[in-house]
């Protein structure tokens, strides 16, 4: 594509961060994800789109083994992060989730101070030797979460007292505090107003410089705005995965076309 934005973005779109091969997910007898193969690039925002129940969130949760917590859920296939199998027995899921952070649909700050929200991960992973180091980590995280200026004078205030958009950015700051390499976002803006949404989207674009971001969204406009690559899921299949500009101007698959133009899922 000769899209200017893609040329600009193409610069940092070559390294593969996560590689998934023949991934199957079953919830009991229900085959929820079927033969998904996908390479997610580093320093790129990848959007997963598709109708409700298409498997996009389920697949996202495979990427940091969140599905382990569901008893009836069974994951098959290979998922490699930087060439390492994340489902290997030797991989500690807690360590994995420090590397592959997650932000959820509803802002869920801990019922603690703003400072403690950002400091929680670094503390349990022993990232700081002393208070000064921890202060530094917290400030860096809150800056990356694009919320530092708004909260620097009230770090002791409860995180739950912030507005919805601020809470979500605090959660993003909390997720990036552990210096993850990948950030998974499951509908991070669906509970936010348009201004807060724009702020989070701007933040996502900034985060792209340091992380590989994977975002699940129901808003196709959001996928179009923030991502460089888009994957369309339908009935548990990965139907099409391509540059976002291509998906939204001239997709290959009829089902993708139907979905993005609002003609059924």
């Amino acid at each position: 594509m000769n899209d200017m934005r893609l040329i600009e973005r193409a610069v940092d779109m070559d390294d593969i961060k996560i590689s998934a091969r023949d991934v199957q997910v079953y919830y009991g007898d229900n085959h929820a994800i079927k033969d998904v193969n996908v390479d997610i690039q580093d320093k790129t925002v990848t959007a997963f789109i598709g109708p409700s129940g298409c498997g996009k969130s389920t697949f996202l949760r495979c990427l940091n083994r969140m599905n382990d917590t569901i008893d009836i859920c069974r994951v098959e296939g290979d998922i490699h992060l930087d060439g390492e199998d994340i489902n290997d027995k030797r991989v500690d899921p807690v360590q994995l989730r420090a590397k592959v952070g997650m932000v959820f649909q509803k802002p869920n700050p801990f019922p603690k101070s703003i400072y403690d929200n950002a400091a929680y991960g670094p503390k349990i992973h022993g990232m700081a030797k002393n208070k000064a180091e921890l202060d530094e980590i917290v400030e860096r995280a809150l800056r990356r979460g694009a919320i530092w200026d708004e909260v620097k004078d009230r770090l002791d205030a409860p995180g739950t007292g912030l507005s919805g958009g601020q809470q979500q950015r605090l959660c993003i700051a909390r997720a990036v505090a552990t210096e993850p390499e990948v950030l998974l976002m499951d509908e991070p803006c669906s509970a936010l107003d348009p201004i807060a949404t724009a702020q989070v989207e701007e933040l996502i674009d900034e985060l792209r410089q340091n992380y590989s971001v994977v975002i699940v969204t129901h808003s196709m406009q959001q996928a179009a705005r923030v991502s460089q690559k888009t994957a369309f899921f339908h009935l548990g299949n990965l139907v099409e995965y391509d540059e976002t500009g291509k998906i939204f101007t001239n997709p290959e698959d009829e089902r993708t076309e139907s979905y993005i133009t609002g003609r059924i899922g």
């Binding site: 196709m220 101007t249 001239n250 133009t261």
Partner: protein, 236 residues
Amino acid sequence: MNQEHISSAFDRDLEAIQALMVKMGGLVEAAILDGSKAVTTRDVELAENVRKGDKVIDDLEERINEEAARTIALRAPVSSDLRVVLSVLKLSASLERIGDYARNLAKRTEVLAELRPVSGPDKALKRMAKEVQRMLKDTLDAYVRRDAALAEDVRQRDEEVDEMYNALFREFLTFMMEDPRNITACMHLHFIAKNVERMGDLVTNMAEQVIYVVTGEMPDDGRPKSDETAFISGET
């Protein structure tokens, strides 16, 4: 893509702007035929009708622009829907230009009617205009039927129009060299021929837009071109 949108109002919006464009196309077809008929039969009254008709064409274009802007703002169309809106904008802009050329033919009728007749080129001019009108009709049909093959056929046919123009150019030169009293009329007639040739180019652009709507890609430039007049001199 024949499937309907979940939002039927979106379908109605897209259909409405396309219907306006096709309606505009019909008026422009008539303007080409009437304009060429007026000028070749020196029918001043018909010429006046063509000039008045151009106002309607211009108004339609403005309405299409407004409706298309509205659709983009309110519906945020993507993919094939976006191509429909973009193409309607471009097609209507080309139609408006063709309408202007038709009005220009009509405008020259009055002065030609007062000049001594130049026999010969009238028939060729009329044939040329008829061919352009047919190309336009086929382009609009191709649009409505989403028929890229027919649009490609139109694209190729522009060469014939170019050749007709080349032949007329030579003919005008001959007439003017034969008798300088023909010069004024021939100059007007040459402008007319050139305008009809330009209409053909615009119809060709439109055909390319149709291919874009259907396939999502602009055709590669594999079109024969044969405007030779840049190399013709009256010297022998």
